[in-house]
Protein backbone atom coordinates (compact mmCIF):
# COMPACT_ATOMS: atom_id res chain seq x y z
CA UNK A 1 0.00 0.00 0.00
CA UNK A 2 1.32 3.40 -0.88
CA UNK A 3 0.41 5.74 1.95
CA UNK A 4 2.09 9.06 2.47
CA UNK A 5 4.55 8.65 5.36
CA UNK A 6 2.98 11.57 7.23
CA UNK A 7 -0.47 10.02 7.06
CA UNK A 8 1.00 6.73 8.18
CA UNK A 9 2.76 8.24 11.20
CA UNK A 10 -0.34 10.21 12.16
CA UNK A 11 -2.51 7.11 11.92
CA UNK A 12 0.00 5.26 14.08
CA UNK A 13 -0.14 7.99 16.70
CA UNK A 14 -3.93 8.03 16.62
CA UNK A 15 -4.00 4.27 17.13
CA UNK A 16 -1.57 4.57 20.01
CA UNK A 17 -3.70 7.34 21.55
CA UNK A 18 -6.84 5.20 21.28
CA UNK A 19 -5.04 2.25 22.86
CA UNK A 20 -3.86 4.46 25.72
CA UNK A 21 -7.39 5.79 26.20
CA UNK A 22 -8.68 2.23 26.34
CA UNK A 23 -6.21 1.19 29.04
CA UNK A 24 -6.77 4.40 30.99
CA UNK A 25 -10.53 3.84 30.92
CA UNK A 26 -9.99 0.33 32.28
CA UNK A 27 -7.86 1.70 35.11
CA UNK A 28 -10.45 4.33 36.00
CA UNK A 29 -13.27 1.82 35.73
CA UNK A 30 -11.52 -0.62 38.04
CA UNK A 31 -11.63 2.02 40.80
CA UNK A 32 -15.03 0.64 41.75
CA UNK A 33 -13.70 -2.92 41.64
CA UNK A 34 -11.05 -2.16 44.22
CA UNK A 35 -13.46 -0.86 46.84
CA UNK A 36 -13.82 -3.03 49.94
CA UNK A 37 -16.78 -5.42 49.91
CA UNK A 38 -18.85 -3.58 52.51
CA UNK A 39 -18.74 -0.17 50.85
CA UNK A 40 -22.50 -0.28 50.23
CA UNK A 41 -23.04 -0.33 53.97
CA UNK A 42 -20.51 2.49 54.43
CA UNK A 43 -22.31 4.73 51.93
CA UNK A 44 -25.87 4.02 52.96
CA UNK A 45 -25.09 4.19 56.68
CA UNK A 46 -25.25 1.70 59.52
CA UNK A 47 -29.03 1.70 59.57
CA UNK A 48 -29.34 0.35 56.04
CA UNK A 49 -31.09 -3.00 55.81
CA UNK A 50 -29.68 -5.87 53.83
CA UNK A 51 -32.34 -5.33 51.21
CA UNK A 52 -31.45 -1.71 50.54
CA UNK A 53 -27.74 -2.59 50.37
CA UNK A 54 -28.54 -5.40 47.96
CA UNK A 55 -30.70 -3.07 45.87
CA UNK A 56 -27.89 -0.52 45.80
CA UNK A 57 -25.39 -3.14 44.68
CA UNK A 58 -27.81 -4.30 42.00
CA UNK A 59 -28.24 -0.73 40.79
CA UNK A 60 -24.46 -0.47 40.42
CA UNK A 61 -24.62 -3.74 38.53
CA UNK A 62 -22.32 -5.51 40.96
CA UNK A 63 -24.27 -8.74 40.37
CA UNK A 64 -22.95 -8.86 36.81
CA UNK A 65 -19.48 -9.86 35.60
CA UNK A 66 -16.90 -7.08 35.39
CA UNK A 67 -16.46 -7.04 31.61
CA UNK A 68 -20.19 -6.52 31.05
CA UNK A 69 -20.20 -3.63 33.49
CA UNK A 70 -17.15 -2.16 31.79
CA UNK A 71 -18.91 -2.23 28.42
CA UNK A 72 -22.02 -0.64 29.94
CA UNK A 73 -19.90 2.02 31.64
CA UNK A 74 -17.97 2.93 28.49
CA UNK A 75 -21.17 2.81 26.41
CA UNK A 76 -22.84 5.11 28.91
CA UNK A 77 -19.86 7.46 29.01
CA UNK A 78 -19.88 7.72 25.21
CA UNK A 79 -23.55 8.70 25.33
CA UNK A 80 -22.93 11.20 28.10
CA UNK A 81 -24.05 9.07 31.03
CA UNK A 82 -21.50 8.67 33.79
CA UNK A 83 -23.75 7.04 36.39
CA UNK A 84 -25.11 8.60 39.55
CA UNK A 85 -23.33 10.09 42.51
CA UNK A 86 -22.99 8.17 45.79
CA UNK A 87 -23.93 11.20 47.85
CA UNK A 88 -27.60 11.86 48.58
CA UNK A 89 -28.32 8.21 49.30
CA UNK A 90 -29.33 7.03 52.72
CA UNK A 91 -30.39 4.00 54.67
CA UNK A 92 -34.12 4.39 54.03
CA UNK A 93 -33.59 3.65 50.36
CA UNK A 94 -34.85 7.08 49.27
CA UNK A 95 -32.58 8.16 46.46
CA UNK A 96 -31.75 11.86 46.22
CA UNK A 97 -28.55 11.31 44.30
CA UNK A 98 -27.83 13.31 41.15
CA UNK A 99 -26.48 12.17 37.83
CA UNK A 100 -22.72 12.68 37.61
CA UNK A 101 -23.12 14.41 34.25
CA UNK A 102 -25.45 17.01 35.77
CA UNK A 103 -22.80 17.74 38.40
CA UNK A 104 -19.92 17.95 35.95
CA UNK A 105 -21.44 19.72 32.93
CA UNK A 106 -21.84 23.28 34.31
CA UNK A 107 -18.46 23.07 36.04
CA UNK A 108 -16.72 21.79 32.94
CA UNK A 109 -17.66 25.00 31.14
CA UNK A 110 -16.20 27.02 34.04
CA UNK A 111 -12.97 25.05 34.00
CA UNK A 112 -12.63 25.39 30.24
CA UNK A 113 -13.25 29.12 30.57
CA UNK A 114 -10.47 29.43 33.16
CA UNK A 115 -8.05 27.32 31.12
CA UNK A 116 -8.95 29.20 27.94
CA UNK A 117 -8.49 32.60 29.55
CA UNK A 118 -5.11 31.50 30.90
CA UNK A 119 -4.02 30.22 27.51
CA UNK A 120 -5.03 33.48 25.83
CA UNK A 121 -2.90 35.46 28.30
CA UNK A 122 -0.01 33.04 28.73
CA UNK A 123 0.83 31.85 25.21
CA UNK A 124 1.59 35.27 23.62
CA UNK A 125 3.58 36.37 26.70
CA UNK A 126 5.59 33.16 26.71
CA UNK A 127 6.35 33.36 22.99
CA UNK A 128 7.36 37.01 23.17
CA UNK A 129 9.59 36.40 26.18
CA UNK A 130 11.12 33.28 24.66
CA UNK A 131 11.96 34.89 21.32
CA UNK A 132 13.22 38.11 22.88
CA UNK A 133 15.45 36.35 25.41
CA UNK A 134 16.90 34.27 22.60
CA UNK A 135 17.44 37.49 20.65
CA UNK A 136 19.28 39.19 23.52
CA UNK A 137 20.98 36.10 24.84
CA UNK A 138 23.25 36.52 27.89
CA UNK A 139 22.17 40.14 28.33
CA UNK A 140 21.00 41.49 31.68
CA UNK A 141 17.42 41.22 30.40
CA UNK A 142 17.88 37.55 29.51
CA UNK A 143 19.42 36.75 32.91
CA UNK A 144 16.70 38.57 34.82
CA UNK A 145 13.91 36.79 32.97
CA UNK A 146 15.71 33.48 33.39
CA UNK A 147 16.17 33.84 37.13
CA UNK A 148 12.60 35.00 37.58
CA UNK A 149 11.18 32.06 35.63
CA UNK A 150 13.43 29.54 37.40
CA UNK A 151 12.07 30.79 40.70
CA UNK A 152 8.41 30.63 39.69
CA UNK A 153 8.90 27.08 38.40
CA UNK A 154 10.05 26.01 41.88
CA UNK A 155 7.05 27.56 43.63
CA UNK A 156 4.01 25.45 44.44
CA UNK A 157 0.87 26.81 42.73
CA UNK A 158 -0.85 27.68 45.97
CA UNK A 159 2.14 29.79 47.05
CA UNK A 160 1.89 31.88 43.88
CA UNK A 161 -1.89 32.05 44.36
CA UNK A 162 -1.71 33.30 47.93
CA UNK A 163 1.01 35.84 47.15
CA UNK A 164 -1.27 37.23 44.44
CA UNK A 165 -4.23 37.25 46.83
CA UNK A 166 -2.15 39.03 49.46
CA UNK A 167 -0.96 41.67 47.01
CA UNK A 168 -3.87 42.16 44.62
CA UNK A 169 -6.87 41.28 46.75
CA UNK A 170 -5.98 42.01 50.35
CA UNK A 171 -3.37 44.79 50.49
CA UNK A 172 -4.41 46.55 47.27
CA UNK A 173 -7.93 45.34 46.54
CA UNK A 174 -7.94 45.33 42.77
CA UNK A 175 -9.43 41.89 42.11
CA UNK A 176 -11.80 39.76 44.20
CA UNK A 177 -10.06 36.97 46.09
CA UNK A 178 -12.92 34.52 45.61
CA UNK A 179 -13.80 33.64 42.05
CA UNK A 180 -17.47 32.84 42.55
CA UNK A 181 -19.09 32.75 39.15
CA UNK A 182 -22.33 31.15 37.99
CA UNK A 183 -24.26 30.79 34.77
CA UNK A 184 -25.83 34.24 35.03
CA UNK A 185 -22.50 36.08 35.40
CA UNK A 186 -21.94 38.22 32.28
CA UNK A 187 -18.76 37.56 30.34
CA UNK A 188 -16.83 40.70 31.33
CA UNK A 189 -17.70 40.24 35.00
CA UNK A 190 -16.74 36.60 34.72
CA UNK A 191 -13.36 37.43 33.26
CA UNK A 192 -12.81 40.03 36.01
CA UNK A 193 -13.61 37.55 38.77
CA UNK A 194 -11.49 34.87 37.15
CA UNK A 195 -8.53 37.25 36.79
CA UNK A 196 -6.56 36.08 39.84
CA UNK A 197 -6.83 32.34 39.18
CA UNK A 198 -5.96 32.93 35.52
CA UNK A 199 -2.99 35.09 36.54
CA UNK A 200 -1.74 32.40 38.93
CA UNK A 201 -1.89 29.74 36.24
CA UNK A 202 -0.26 32.12 33.77
CA UNK A 203 2.72 32.68 36.07
CA UNK A 204 3.07 28.93 36.52
CA UNK A 205 3.03 27.94 32.85
CA UNK A 206 4.68 30.98 31.24
CA UNK A 207 7.99 30.07 32.87
CA UNK A 208 7.98 26.63 31.32
CA UNK A 209 6.84 27.67 27.85
CA UNK A 210 9.22 30.60 27.71
CA UNK A 211 12.25 28.50 28.67
CA UNK A 212 11.39 25.83 26.12
CA UNK A 213 10.85 28.41 23.36
CA UNK A 214 14.19 30.01 24.18
CA UNK A 215 15.94 26.65 24.26
CA UNK A 216 14.37 25.57 20.95
CA UNK A 217 15.52 28.74 19.18
CA UNK A 218 19.01 28.74 20.72
CA UNK A 219 19.35 25.10 19.76
CA UNK A 220 18.57 25.97 16.14
CA UNK A 221 20.98 28.90 16.11
CA UNK A 222 23.82 26.38 16.33
CA UNK A 223 22.87 24.70 13.03
CA UNK A 224 24.97 25.23 9.89
CA UNK A 225 22.21 26.84 7.82
CA UNK A 226 21.90 29.64 10.38
CA UNK A 227 25.62 30.22 10.14
CA UNK A 228 25.19 30.34 6.38
CA UNK A 229 22.47 32.98 6.73
CA UNK A 230 24.69 34.96 9.10
CA UNK A 231 27.61 34.78 6.71
CA UNK A 232 25.41 36.00 3.89
CA UNK A 233 24.80 39.14 5.93
CA UNK A 234 21.45 38.64 7.66
CA UNK A 235 20.93 40.60 10.86
CA UNK A 236 20.30 38.92 14.21
CA UNK A 237 16.58 39.77 14.12
CA UNK A 238 16.28 38.52 10.56
CA UNK A 239 18.08 35.29 11.43
CA UNK A 240 15.75 34.58 14.34
CA UNK A 241 12.45 35.65 12.78
CA UNK A 242 13.01 34.46 9.22
CA UNK A 243 15.36 31.50 9.56
CA UNK A 244 15.17 30.04 13.06
CA UNK A 245 11.50 30.54 13.96
CA UNK A 246 9.93 28.57 11.08
CA UNK A 247 11.92 25.52 12.11
CA UNK A 248 11.23 26.10 15.78
CA UNK A 249 7.43 26.01 15.36
CA UNK A 250 7.21 22.26 15.84
CA UNK A 251 8.96 22.14 19.23
CA UNK A 252 7.19 25.32 20.32
CA UNK A 253 3.77 23.98 19.34
CA UNK A 254 4.56 20.80 21.23
CA UNK A 255 5.52 22.81 24.29
CA UNK A 256 2.34 24.89 24.12
CA UNK A 257 0.10 21.84 23.78
CA UNK A 258 1.99 20.11 26.56
CA UNK A 259 1.57 23.09 28.86
CA UNK A 260 -2.11 23.39 28.05
CA UNK A 261 -2.34 19.74 29.04
CA UNK A 262 -0.51 20.61 32.23
CA UNK A 263 -3.05 23.38 32.78
CA UNK A 264 -5.71 20.71 33.05
CA UNK A 265 -4.00 19.47 36.19
CA UNK A 266 -2.93 22.87 37.45
CA UNK A 267 -6.55 24.00 37.62
CA UNK A 268 -7.28 21.52 40.42
CA UNK A 269 -5.20 23.32 43.05
CA UNK A 270 -5.99 26.81 41.81
CA UNK A 271 -9.73 26.14 41.74
CA UNK A 272 -9.61 25.05 45.36
CA UNK A 273 -7.64 28.14 46.42
CA UNK A 274 -10.07 30.54 44.77
CA UNK A 275 -13.19 28.46 45.47
CA UNK A 276 -13.82 28.49 41.73
CA UNK A 277 -16.72 26.19 40.80
CA UNK A 278 -14.86 23.97 38.35
CA UNK A 279 -14.34 20.25 37.75
CA UNK A 280 -11.13 20.23 39.79
CA UNK A 281 -12.85 21.38 42.95
CA UNK A 282 -15.67 18.89 42.37
CA UNK A 283 -13.12 16.10 42.04
CA UNK A 284 -11.30 17.04 45.26
CA UNK A 285 -14.60 17.17 47.15
CA UNK A 286 -15.55 13.79 45.70
CA UNK A 287 -12.20 12.31 46.73
CA UNK A 288 -12.68 13.58 50.29
CA UNK A 289 -16.14 12.03 50.52
CA UNK A 290 -15.03 9.00 48.47
CA UNK A 291 -17.81 9.51 45.95
CA UNK A 292 -16.32 7.12 43.40
CA UNK A 293 -18.66 7.70 40.38
CA UNK A 294 -17.94 11.45 40.50
CA UNK A 295 -14.20 10.82 40.89
CA UNK A 296 -14.35 8.47 37.91
CA UNK A 297 -16.23 10.99 35.79
CA UNK A 298 -13.83 13.83 36.57
CA UNK A 299 -10.76 11.63 36.14
CA UNK A 300 -12.07 10.43 32.78
CA UNK A 301 -12.57 14.00 31.56
CA UNK A 302 -9.14 15.12 32.77
CA UNK A 303 -7.42 12.07 31.31
CA UNK A 304 -9.15 12.41 27.92
CA UNK A 305 -8.27 16.10 27.66
CA UNK A 306 -4.69 15.42 28.68
CA UNK A 307 -4.24 12.56 26.21
CA UNK A 308 -5.94 14.51 23.39
CA UNK A 309 -3.77 17.59 23.88
CA UNK A 310 -0.61 15.50 23.93
CA UNK A 311 -1.81 13.71 20.80
CA UNK A 312 -2.40 17.07 19.09
CA UNK A 313 1.08 18.16 20.11
CA UNK A 314 2.53 15.01 18.59
CA UNK A 315 0.59 15.45 15.35
CA UNK A 316 1.58 19.12 15.01
CA UNK A 317 5.17 18.05 15.50
CA UNK A 318 4.83 15.52 12.69
CA UNK A 319 2.98 17.81 10.26
CA UNK A 320 5.36 20.72 10.66
CA UNK A 321 8.45 18.59 10.29
CA UNK A 322 9.67 19.41 6.76
CA UNK A 323 11.79 16.27 6.59
CA UNK A 324 8.66 14.15 6.83
CA UNK A 325 6.65 16.28 4.39
CA UNK A 326 9.06 15.78 1.51
CA UNK A 327 10.04 12.13 1.46
CA UNK A 328 12.93 11.19 -0.76
Amino acid sequence: MNVHPVTKTILERLGLGLATLFVVSIIIFSAIEMLPGDFGQAILGQAATQETVAAFRRELGLDQPAYLRYLQWVGGALQGDLGTSFSGRNASGIDRSRAVVDLIAPRLWNTLFLAGLTAVIAVPIALALGVSTALFRNSVYDRTVNTATLTTISFPEFFVAYILILLLASLYPVFPSLANVDDSTPLAERAFRTALPALTLTLVIVAHMMRMTRAAIINLLASPYIQMARLSGASQTEVIIKHALPNAWAPIATVIAFNLAYLVVGVVVVEVVFVYPGVGQLMVDAVTSRDIPVVQGCALIFAITYILLNLIADIIGIITNPRLLHPK
Binding site: T20, V23, V24, I27, I28, A31, M34, L35, N138, L150, T151, I153, S154, F155, P156, E157, F158, F159, Y162, I163, I165, L166, S170, L171, S177, A261, Y262, V264, V265, V268, V269, V272, V273, M283, V284, A286, V287, T288, R290, D291, I292, V295, Q296, C298, A299, F302, A303, Y306, I307, N310
Partner: protein, 306 residues
Amino acid sequence: MTQNPDTYSAAGEVGAVLEKRTFWTRLKLDLKKSPWSARFGMVIIFIYAMLAIFAPVFAPYGEAQVFPTPYAPWSSEFIFGTDQIGRDIFSRLIYGARNTVGIAVATTFLAFLIGGALGLIAAINRSYIDQALSRLVDVFMAIPSLIFALVLLSIFGSTVLNLIIIIAVLDSTRVFRLTRAVAINVVVMDYVEAARLRGEGLGWIMRKEILPNIMPPLIAEFGLRFCFVFLSIAALSFLGVGIQPPTADWGSMVRENASLIQFAQYDLKAGLTPLLPAAAIALLTVAVNFVVDWFLHKTSGLRDEQ
Protein backbone atom coordinates in the same frame (compact mmCIF):
# COMPACT_ATOMS: atom_id res chain seq x y z
CA MET B 1 64.10 13.22 44.12
CA THR B 2 67.23 11.49 42.94
CA GLN B 3 67.01 10.30 39.41
CA ASN B 4 68.67 7.14 38.39
CA PRO B 5 69.02 7.36 34.60
CA ASP B 6 68.92 3.56 34.20
CA THR B 7 65.56 3.04 35.82
CA TYR B 8 63.95 6.34 34.93
CA SER B 9 60.30 6.22 34.02
CA ALA B 10 57.87 9.03 33.43
CA ALA B 11 55.29 7.29 35.55
CA GLY B 12 57.70 7.24 38.45
CA GLU B 13 58.33 10.95 38.22
CA VAL B 14 54.66 11.77 38.02
CA GLY B 15 54.01 9.32 40.83
CA ALA B 16 56.44 11.18 43.07
CA VAL B 17 54.54 14.43 42.82
CA LEU B 18 51.13 12.84 42.60
CA GLU B 19 49.19 13.68 45.65
CA LYS B 20 46.74 11.03 46.77
CA ARG B 21 43.44 12.79 47.16
CA THR B 22 41.04 11.34 49.60
CA PHE B 23 37.32 11.66 49.13
CA TRP B 24 37.24 14.58 51.55
CA THR B 25 39.99 16.60 49.88
CA ARG B 26 38.23 16.19 46.56
CA LEU B 27 34.97 17.25 48.15
CA LYS B 28 36.71 20.31 49.61
CA LEU B 29 38.15 21.25 46.23
CA ASP B 30 34.75 20.87 44.58
CA LEU B 31 33.08 22.98 47.21
CA LYS B 32 35.71 25.69 46.81
CA LYS B 33 34.84 25.93 43.14
CA SER B 34 31.07 25.81 43.63
CA PRO B 35 29.00 28.83 42.61
CA TRP B 36 27.20 30.91 45.24
CA SER B 37 23.81 29.53 44.25
CA ALA B 38 24.89 25.97 45.02
CA ARG B 39 26.44 27.02 48.34
CA PHE B 40 23.25 28.84 49.25
CA GLY B 41 21.27 25.72 48.34
CA MET B 42 23.48 23.47 50.44
CA VAL B 43 23.27 25.75 53.48
CA ILE B 44 19.47 25.80 53.21
CA ILE B 45 19.26 22.02 52.84
CA PHE B 46 21.58 21.61 55.85
CA ILE B 47 19.43 23.91 57.98
CA TYR B 48 16.26 22.05 56.96
CA ALA B 49 17.89 18.72 57.77
CA MET B 50 18.98 19.95 61.21
CA LEU B 51 15.51 21.32 61.94
CA ALA B 52 13.91 18.07 60.84
CA ILE B 53 16.22 15.86 62.90
CA PHE B 54 16.26 17.98 66.05
CA ALA B 55 12.71 19.32 65.79
CA PRO B 56 11.83 18.75 69.49
CA VAL B 57 14.97 20.65 70.54
CA PHE B 58 14.28 23.73 68.41
CA ALA B 59 10.51 23.92 68.77
CA PRO B 60 9.37 25.90 71.82
CA TYR B 61 6.09 23.96 72.08
CA GLY B 62 4.74 20.58 71.09
CA GLU B 63 3.44 19.68 67.63
CA ALA B 64 -0.21 19.42 68.70
CA GLN B 65 -0.09 21.45 71.93
CA VAL B 66 -3.22 23.64 72.06
CA PHE B 67 -3.25 27.08 73.71
CA PRO B 68 -6.39 28.98 74.76
CA THR B 69 -6.17 31.80 72.18
CA PRO B 70 -6.77 30.81 68.56
CA TYR B 71 -5.34 33.14 65.89
CA ALA B 72 -3.08 34.90 68.40
CA PRO B 73 -0.97 37.66 66.79
CA TRP B 74 2.81 37.47 66.43
CA SER B 75 4.42 38.01 69.84
CA SER B 76 7.45 37.02 71.88
CA GLU B 77 5.45 34.16 73.32
CA PHE B 78 4.24 32.85 69.96
CA ILE B 79 6.73 33.99 67.35
CA PHE B 80 4.37 33.52 64.41
CA GLY B 81 1.14 33.50 66.42
CA THR B 82 -1.22 30.56 66.81
CA ASP B 83 -3.47 28.79 64.32
CA GLN B 84 -7.22 28.26 64.17
CA ILE B 85 -7.36 26.06 67.28
CA GLY B 86 -4.53 27.74 69.14
CA ARG B 87 -1.44 25.75 68.23
CA ASP B 88 1.91 27.56 68.00
CA ILE B 89 2.65 28.08 64.31
CA PHE B 90 6.43 28.40 64.76
CA SER B 91 6.60 24.99 66.45
CA ARG B 92 4.39 23.46 63.81
CA LEU B 93 6.59 24.88 61.07
CA ILE B 94 9.61 23.16 62.63
CA TYR B 95 7.78 19.87 63.06
CA GLY B 96 6.52 20.29 59.51
CA ALA B 97 10.13 20.07 58.31
CA ARG B 98 10.28 16.67 59.91
CA ASN B 99 6.91 15.41 58.63
CA THR B 100 6.58 16.92 55.17
CA VAL B 101 10.22 16.62 54.15
CA GLY B 102 10.61 13.25 55.84
CA ILE B 103 7.63 11.79 54.00
CA ALA B 104 8.83 13.26 50.71
CA VAL B 105 12.33 11.78 51.20
CA ALA B 106 10.87 8.37 52.06
CA THR B 107 8.61 8.51 48.99
CA THR B 108 11.48 9.47 46.69
CA PHE B 109 13.62 6.61 48.04
CA LEU B 110 10.79 4.15 47.47
CA ALA B 111 10.22 5.51 43.96
CA PHE B 112 13.91 5.02 43.15
CA LEU B 113 13.92 1.56 44.66
CA ILE B 114 10.98 0.47 42.49
CA GLY B 115 11.76 2.44 39.33
CA GLY B 116 15.52 1.90 39.51
CA ALA B 117 15.34 -1.84 40.08
CA LEU B 118 12.74 -2.38 37.35
CA GLY B 119 14.61 -0.08 34.98
CA LEU B 120 17.85 -2.02 35.48
CA ILE B 121 16.09 -5.33 35.04
CA ALA B 122 14.44 -4.10 31.85
CA ALA B 123 17.75 -2.80 30.49
CA ILE B 124 19.63 -6.02 31.26
CA ASN B 125 16.88 -8.36 30.24
CA ARG B 126 15.58 -6.67 27.05
CA SER B 127 13.00 -9.40 26.53
CA TYR B 128 9.25 -9.43 26.96
CA ILE B 129 9.72 -8.09 30.50
CA ASP B 130 11.25 -4.93 29.06
CA GLN B 131 8.42 -4.61 26.54
CA ALA B 132 5.68 -5.17 29.10
CA LEU B 133 7.17 -2.77 31.65
CA SER B 134 7.82 -0.06 29.09
CA ARG B 135 4.28 -0.16 27.70
CA LEU B 136 2.84 -0.15 31.20
CA VAL B 137 4.92 2.90 32.08
CA ASP B 138 3.75 4.63 28.88
CA VAL B 139 0.14 4.24 29.96
CA PHE B 140 0.86 5.40 33.51
CA MET B 141 2.57 8.48 32.17
CA ALA B 142 -0.35 9.26 29.89
CA ILE B 143 -2.49 10.20 32.90
CA PRO B 144 -1.54 13.32 34.83
CA SER B 145 -0.11 12.02 38.11
CA LEU B 146 -2.09 14.39 40.34
CA ILE B 147 -5.36 13.11 38.85
CA PHE B 148 -4.16 9.51 39.12
CA ALA B 149 -3.15 10.09 42.73
CA LEU B 150 -6.58 11.58 43.50
CA VAL B 151 -8.34 8.53 42.01
CA LEU B 152 -6.15 6.11 43.96
CA LEU B 153 -6.52 8.06 47.21
CA SER B 154 -10.30 8.01 46.85
CA ILE B 155 -10.17 4.23 46.56
CA PHE B 156 -7.66 3.41 49.27
CA GLY B 157 -8.28 6.35 51.60
CA SER B 158 -5.94 9.11 52.70
CA THR B 159 -3.41 7.65 55.09
CA VAL B 160 0.28 8.52 55.18
CA LEU B 161 1.28 5.00 54.14
CA ASN B 162 -1.12 5.01 51.18
CA LEU B 163 0.12 8.45 50.20
CA ILE B 164 3.76 7.32 50.21
CA ILE B 165 3.04 4.16 48.23
CA ILE B 166 0.79 5.85 45.66
CA ILE B 167 3.10 8.77 44.94
CA ALA B 168 6.14 6.48 44.92
CA VAL B 169 4.57 4.10 42.40
CA LEU B 170 3.41 6.96 40.15
CA ASP B 171 6.81 8.64 40.26
CA SER B 172 8.76 5.43 39.80
CA THR B 173 7.58 5.48 36.16
CA ARG B 174 9.86 8.44 35.41
CA VAL B 175 12.73 6.87 37.35
CA PHE B 176 12.18 3.68 35.34
CA ARG B 177 12.42 5.55 32.05
CA LEU B 178 15.62 7.34 33.00
CA THR B 179 17.31 4.31 34.55
CA ARG B 180 16.46 2.14 31.57
CA ALA B 181 17.65 4.77 29.10
CA VAL B 182 21.05 5.32 30.73
CA ALA B 183 21.54 1.67 31.69
CA ILE B 184 21.00 0.45 28.13
CA ASN B 185 24.19 2.23 27.05
CA VAL B 186 26.16 0.56 29.81
CA VAL B 187 24.71 -2.93 29.41
CA VAL B 188 26.38 -3.40 26.03
CA MET B 189 29.87 -2.71 27.46
CA ASP B 190 32.42 -5.52 27.37
CA TYR B 191 32.96 -5.66 31.10
CA VAL B 192 29.27 -6.37 31.64
CA GLU B 193 29.51 -9.16 29.10
CA ALA B 194 32.60 -10.44 30.93
CA ALA B 195 30.72 -10.42 34.22
CA ARG B 196 27.92 -12.36 32.59
CA LEU B 197 30.30 -14.89 31.12
CA ARG B 198 31.97 -15.54 34.43
CA GLY B 199 28.52 -16.38 35.73
CA GLU B 200 27.54 -13.42 37.89
CA GLY B 201 23.88 -13.21 38.79
CA LEU B 202 21.41 -10.48 37.94
CA GLY B 203 21.81 -8.80 41.33
CA TRP B 204 25.59 -8.54 40.99
CA ILE B 205 25.43 -7.12 37.48
CA MET B 206 22.85 -4.57 38.60
CA ARG B 207 24.72 -3.42 41.70
CA LYS B 208 28.39 -3.86 40.87
CA GLU B 209 28.64 -3.45 37.12
CA ILE B 210 25.94 -1.05 35.99
CA LEU B 211 24.82 1.04 38.94
CA PRO B 212 28.21 2.70 39.66
CA ASN B 213 28.38 3.83 36.04
CA ILE B 214 24.96 5.44 35.91
CA MET B 215 25.10 7.12 39.29
CA PRO B 216 25.55 10.80 38.26
CA PRO B 217 22.33 11.14 36.22
CA LEU B 218 20.45 9.15 38.86
CA ILE B 219 21.65 11.40 41.68
CA ALA B 220 20.65 14.51 39.75
CA GLU B 221 17.29 12.90 39.00
CA PHE B 222 16.93 12.12 42.69
CA GLY B 223 17.10 15.82 43.47
CA LEU B 224 14.59 16.76 40.78
CA ARG B 225 12.27 13.88 41.65
CA PHE B 226 12.42 14.90 45.29
CA CYS B 227 11.25 18.40 44.36
CA PHE B 228 8.42 16.96 42.30
CA VAL B 229 7.34 14.49 44.99
CA PHE B 230 7.62 17.16 47.65
CA LEU B 231 5.43 19.54 45.65
CA SER B 232 2.83 16.84 44.86
CA ILE B 233 2.57 15.79 48.49
CA ALA B 234 2.28 19.42 49.53
CA ALA B 235 -0.41 19.97 46.90
CA LEU B 236 -2.38 16.89 47.98
CA SER B 237 -2.11 17.88 51.64
CA PHE B 238 -3.19 21.37 50.72
CA LEU B 239 -6.23 19.88 48.98
CA GLY B 240 -7.00 18.03 52.20
CA VAL B 241 -6.45 14.51 50.86
CA GLY B 242 -2.79 14.11 51.78
CA ILE B 243 -1.21 14.18 55.22
CA GLN B 244 -4.05 14.35 57.73
CA PRO B 245 -4.34 16.47 60.91
CA PRO B 246 -3.15 16.72 63.66
CA THR B 247 0.21 15.97 61.99
CA ALA B 248 1.98 19.27 61.39
CA ASP B 249 2.45 19.55 57.64
CA TRP B 250 3.20 22.59 55.51
CA GLY B 251 0.61 21.90 52.82
CA SER B 252 -2.31 21.56 55.21
CA MET B 253 -1.02 24.47 57.34
CA VAL B 254 -1.41 26.78 54.35
CA ARG B 255 -4.99 25.63 53.92
CA GLU B 256 -5.87 25.90 57.62
CA ASN B 257 -4.60 29.46 57.98
CA ALA B 258 -5.56 30.71 54.52
CA SER B 259 -8.42 32.88 55.83
CA LEU B 260 -5.92 35.02 57.78
CA ILE B 261 -4.81 36.51 54.49
CA GLN B 262 -7.96 38.64 54.40
CA PHE B 263 -6.70 40.59 57.42
CA ALA B 264 -3.47 41.68 55.76
CA GLN B 265 -4.78 45.23 55.47
CA TYR B 266 -5.16 45.56 59.23
CA ASP B 267 -2.23 43.43 60.35
CA LEU B 268 0.33 42.57 57.71
CA LYS B 269 1.94 39.95 59.94
CA ALA B 270 -1.31 38.01 60.20
CA GLY B 271 -1.65 38.17 56.41
CA LEU B 272 1.84 36.75 56.02
CA THR B 273 1.24 33.81 58.36
CA PRO B 274 -0.34 31.43 55.80
CA LEU B 275 2.47 32.26 53.39
CA LEU B 276 5.17 31.04 55.81
CA PRO B 277 4.67 27.28 55.28
CA ALA B 278 4.25 27.85 51.54
CA ALA B 279 7.48 29.84 51.52
CA ALA B 280 9.19 27.04 53.44
CA ILE B 281 8.17 24.64 50.66
CA ALA B 282 9.28 27.02 47.91
CA LEU B 283 12.64 27.76 49.57
CA LEU B 284 13.57 24.10 49.87
CA THR B 285 12.56 23.43 46.27
CA VAL B 286 14.66 26.33 45.02
CA ALA B 287 17.61 25.21 47.17
CA VAL B 288 17.49 21.64 45.85
CA ASN B 289 17.20 22.93 42.28
CA PHE B 290 20.30 25.10 42.72
CA VAL B 291 22.37 22.20 44.03
CA VAL B 292 21.14 19.84 41.30
CA ASP B 293 21.95 22.46 38.68
CA TRP B 294 25.51 22.71 39.93
CA PHE B 295 25.86 18.95 40.22
CA LEU B 296 24.62 18.42 36.66
CA HIS B 297 26.96 21.09 35.40
CA LYS B 298 29.91 19.50 37.24
CA THR B 299 29.27 15.91 36.16
CA SER B 300 28.26 16.62 32.57
CA GLY B 301 31.61 18.29 31.91
CA LEU B 302 29.84 20.84 29.74
CA ARG B 303 30.99 24.43 29.80
CA ASP B 304 28.76 27.43 29.29
CA GLU B 305 28.83 28.37 25.67
CA GLN B 306 29.47 32.05 25.34
